[in-house]
């Protein structure tokens, strides 16, 4: 506590500077006067002055004493000294600074991502109050996803009775063909309740929301545009409000324009099982009708709410649970199906990126640690070389705390230089992620080197500086005078052990990281070569959205698709073509409960749930899904013929285990009739290549037209080149209906590649960090071994003089490196076995303790270590014994 008082006195002094000057002045004059009086002679004053010395200097040094700067003055002095000595050994400093810059820079870049995605509040007012209540599957049922939509009546009832929500809104994706403004274009739209915008707390920059009155069936003719659409389609027309538009053939009036950047909901911020657009471009009233649920009316609503100011997530959950109880009392049949879980919007948005980000954070932390180890080792080697300097300084009276302070200052100077370069590394890393990273990182546009990130970088710099500075300081403390003098120039073996320990740590850390990278790489290629149930080569896909006004009757819809398919099939190069509700790896489609006549269930809740996909004849062969038994749909499967269906293997195995499903019957509860199974197809993966396909049933569009068929995906397997195929498809569709745009024109391979962006990104980053780790560890190995060769020069000379051959020396040095690497690898393998278990969720087709990865990485690391020892070992081998013996 002494220093506290000292600082207090110094601060006091600052406020009384003038008083101090006066006091000192008077004190000195008194001294001179008294001395002059006491001394005899004429020139007494002069003599007194001479005895006193330089009074100006006395005043000056007295003043300086008080300056707060002096404590920092020594610090500054140390820093200057450090800079000077570092600039003398350029190679050392360059390696140290670069190592640190890599470590600090990459961790800063990773932090900037984590900061925006996981830590920073969303750009909505009081974002913690925004909650998404998702329905969840009944206990014990696995669908591959955990978020289910609400049905209309349950939503309206919950919105009416909820006590914790201030605003509750439903929203539902709907595509719109915008016609009459340039070429017809398909826009990603959202039907939303009037409370949608108040729930988010966002206001339009232009105009207003629609009101609750406008959100009524028959009155829903308002549209709010996104800023991007307003600029691109309407040239930022300030008089856009009140303008009439034609969307899906119906008249709409523009009532508002949202602020730039607002595109809620975005697909990658929402559950993958909902097919939300990449960016929402317009919002229209959802206009839910109030009546009871129609037979067969789908549950398809997503719900968002803003909590009351005094409510929190737990209360919202309690509210949902209470609602579930009430609902189940009134409708016992719905038991288990109405359970909902409240999830904070922030949590939802961070979504799937949370775990990969934490994985990457772990990797970067390991790199930073290795960088610290490396620099600590470098500094240690340097401090050994500088032993004489320290002994001299200690002999001249420098206390050990003073020496430690100097060493710490030096490491901080290094860390600061590393941090400064690291900021540039981080800046360019962020740039690369933005340019080449996956497009589905949430809120990527917000990522930047902002003050928060810079503060983080500064903190990391300080911590690393202290971390790698402490080790050599401990060394310095131990280097007490007497020992050093006794040991002479031979150096202490104790600190050789310290260096080896650091090196072993480094090798172990690097091994863990490279094993993690190896596992990710292996599972990535497993994913690529996994049988996804389709063949994406040369398959063109696009989306057709029919306006409901023009295609009101189901016969019209069926007729349009039939004609379109006929014309497309006739195109040059087309091998097969078909339509589907949902393409592979593009999200989950509709699911439904099945009725299986030969497996009756007593409890309706035990009925199986399967994916229900409407396709056309030719679709399965267009995406290359083999039909393993039975047949594909035929043109002859019509509304008036026997209803037929195709099941996938997963469904066949689940419902008819050990039996041939062909000829069996299955139906959906809302249809009276049963379908006959005519074929068994391979399992197609819908959500991602990562997971196993669930049970799925295909039905043919001509036999079971649903309203959802207004939007269908077309798949086209063709030998023609891409542009010709697209042009021909466009012409074919235009020749039937000139107002129909082709949307989302993509190759199926692109969809596959898009679904792989996240595993690819994690794999690349971890592999990159693994490579860093390996390079750093080999630099460390090189440093330790060449230092030890220098230290053992005399010993080597003696060995040679006693008859050791050059190969013996070479082997001895390599052996030393191999021992260190071996210990590091052994420790690393144990740690890796523990660590990789936490990675199971990232792996596909590879066990966390994959012996091949462990083996290959260990061999690789041994190889790298040996390569790093090669140069010093050769140097040892080439030593001239006579010179070596005299070496001091």
């Amino acid at each position: 506590m002494m220093w506290l008082g000292e600082i207090w006195r110094r601060l006091q002094f600052m406020t009384r500077r003038r008083e101090f000057e006066r006091d000192l002045q008077e004190e000195l004059r008194l001294h001179l006067d008294l001395r002059a009086e006491d001394s005899p002679g004429d020139d007494a004053h002069f003599a007194a002055k001479r005895r006193f010395g330089n009074s100006t200097q006395v005043k000056e040094t007295s003043r300086e004493m008080w300056n707060l700067g002096t404590t920092f003055g020594t610090l500054l002095q140390d820093a200057k000294h450090a800079v000077r000595s570092f600039s003398k050994s350029r190679g050392f400093s360059a390696i140290a600074v670069l190592t640190l810059a890599l470590g600090i820079g990459s961790s800063t870049a990773v932090f900037s991502l984590i900061d925006v995605i996981l830590l920073k509040p969303l750009p909505y007012p009081e974002p913690e109050k925004i909650v998404l209540p998702w329905r969840t599957p009944p206990a014990g049922m696995t669908l591959g996803f955990d978020e289910l939509p609400w049905d209309r009546v349950a939503f309206l009832e919950f919105a009416r009775t909820s006590k914790t929500f201030q605003h509750t809104a439903a929203f539902l994706t709907q595509s719109f063909n915008l016609t009459g403004v340039g070429a017809p274009v398909r826009l990603a739209g959202m039907q939303v309740s009037a409370a949608f915008f108040p729930a988010l707390g966002v206001s339009p920059v232009l105009g207003r929301f629609f009101t609750a009155e406008e959100d009524q069936p028959g009155r829903e003719h308002e549209v709010i545009l996104s800023h991007a659409v307003w600029l691109e389609r309407f040239g930022g027309d300030p008089k856009i409000l009140g303008r009439a538009l034609e969307l899906n053939g119906a008249p709409y009036v523009v009532t508002g324009v949202m602020p730039p950047g607002f595109a809620f909901p975005r697909a990658h911020e929402m559950p993958g099982s909902f097919s939300f657009p990449r960016e929402t471009q317009l919002w229209v009233p959802i206009a839910l009708s109030r009546g009871p649920l129609n037979r067969g009316e789908p549950s398809e609503l997503a719900v968002i709410g803003r909590l009351n100011p005094d409510a929190d997530l737990a209360q919202a959950q309690a509210d949902l649970d209470a609602f579930e109880k009430r609902w189940e009392q009134e409708r016992p049949g719905a038991k288990g199906w109405i359970h909902a879980r409240a999830r904070a919007l922030s949590r939802q948005v961070a979504g799937d990126t949370r775990r990969p980000l934490l994985l990457i954070l772990g990797a970067v932390a390991v790199v930073l640690l290795i960088a610290c180890c490396n620099v600590a080792n470098l500094l240690l080697a340097r401090s050994l070389k500088r032993k004489r300097e320290f002994v001299l300084r200690a002999a001249l009276g420098a206390g050990s705390s003073r020496l430690i302070r100097q060493l710490l200052t030096e490491s901080l100077v290094l860390a600061l230089a590393g941090g400064a370069v690291g900021v540039f590394v981080a800046q360019s890393a962020i740039y690369f992620v933005k340019m080449f990273g996956p497009p589905n990182i949430p809120r990527l546009h917000e990522v930047a080197l902002d003050p928060r990130v810079l503060v983080f970088a500064a903190a990391v710099t300080l911590v690393t500086g202290i971390l790698f500075g402490i080790v050599p300081s401990i060394g310095a403390r131990r280097a007490d005078l007497a020992d050093s003098l006794k040991e002479g120039a031979r150096g202490s073996s104790g600190r050789g052990a310290l260096r080896s320990a650091i090196l072993v740590t480094e090798v172990a850390l690097a091994l863990v990281l490279v094993i993690a990278a190896g596992l990710l790489i292996r599972s990535f290629f497993h994913l690529l070569s996994a049988d996804a149930g389709f063949n994406s080569a040369r398959v063109l896909t696009f989306e057709l959205t029919l306006p409901a006004t023009k295609y009101a009757r189901q016969e019209q819809i069926v007729a349009l698709y039939r004609t379109a398919l006929e014309r497309l099939r006739a195109a040059p190069g087309v091998q097969s073509t078909g339509i589907t509700e949902i393409l592979p790896v593009d999200g989950a489609g509709e699911s439904t409960v099945m009725r299986i006549p030969d497996r009756p269930v007593t409890n309706p809740r035990d009925r199986p749930i399967v994916s229900y996909t409407i396709v056309s004849p030719g679709y399965l062969s267009a995406i290359g899904t083999p039909i393993l038994r039975g047949r594909d749909f035929l043109e002859s499967d019509q509304a008036d013929s026997q209803p037929v269906a195709i099941v996938n293997i997963a469904m066949a195995k689940k419902i008819w285990p050990g039996q041939d499903p062909i000829g069996k019957a299955a139906g959906v509860p809302i249809r009276k009739y049963d379908m006959t199974i005519v074929g068994v197809a391979a399992d197609v993966k819908h959500l991602s290549l990562h997971e196993e396909a669930g049970p799925e049933i295909y039905v043919v569009y001509t036999q079971d037209p649903w309203p959802s068929m207004l939007t269908m995906q077309v798949a086209l397997r063709t030998t023609a080149d891409l542009n010709t195929a697209i042009a021909y498809a466009r012409d074919a569709v235009r020749s039937i209906d000139p107002d129909l745009p082709l949307a989302n024109v993509r190759m199926l391979a692109e969809l596959v590649s898009d679904s792989m962006t996240q595993p690819r990104f994690s794999m690349l980053l971890v592999a990159l960090f693994g490579a860093f780790a390996m390079v750093l560890a080999s630099v460390g190995m090189y440093g330790v071994i060449s230092y030890s060769v220098a230290q053992r020069t005399q010993e080597i000379g003696i060995r040679m003089a006693l008859g050791a051959g050059r190969p013996d020396v070479f082997r001895m040095i390599l052996g030393q490196g191999a021992r260190l690497a071996g210990v590091g690898i052994a420790i690393g393998i144990v740690v890796a076995l523990l660590v990789t278990r936490a990675m199971t969720a990232f792996l596909y087709g590879v066990r966390p303790a994959d012996p091949m990865t462990f083996g290959a990485v260990s061999v690789l690391l041994i190889g790298v270590a040996m390569a790093a020892c090669y140069v010093p070992a050769r140097r040892a081998m080439r030593l001239n014994p006579t010179i070596a013996l005299r070496y001091e």
Partner: protein
């Protein structure tokens, strides 16, 4: 250390008195520039080893009087200890050779 010792013995003294007593006690062997006393006094104030107060001398002049604090006494103890140890060691080295 010398100043600490002087103050410890003499109680409250002003700069000139301190300089004189150091000189007298050391029998004029230690002849330093008297001015260097003052920065040292300032240092003691900073460290909290001494406090200063303005007073009046016998000759009726205003002078700043320094007085040792408890921290100052402790410091003196430890410095004396240190000094004794070093001087004993030096003495032994000189005698033995």
């Amino acid at each position: 250390m010398l100043i600490l010792k002087t103050l410890a013995r003499g109680g409250q003294q002003h700069g000139y008195e301190i300089a004189n007593s150091i000189q007298q006690i050391s029998r004029e062997i230690l002849e330093v520039e008297e001015g260097s006393l003052y920065p040292a006094l300032q240092r003691m104030l900073i460290k909290g080893w001494a406090t200063a107060e303005w007073g009046v001398t016998k000759g009726n002049r205003r002078a700043r009087y320094y007085r040792l604090t408890r921290a100052g006494r402790k410091r003196l103890e430890s410095e004396l200890d240190q000094f004794r140890r070093v001087s004993r060691a030096i003495f032994r080295v000189i005698e033995s050779s």
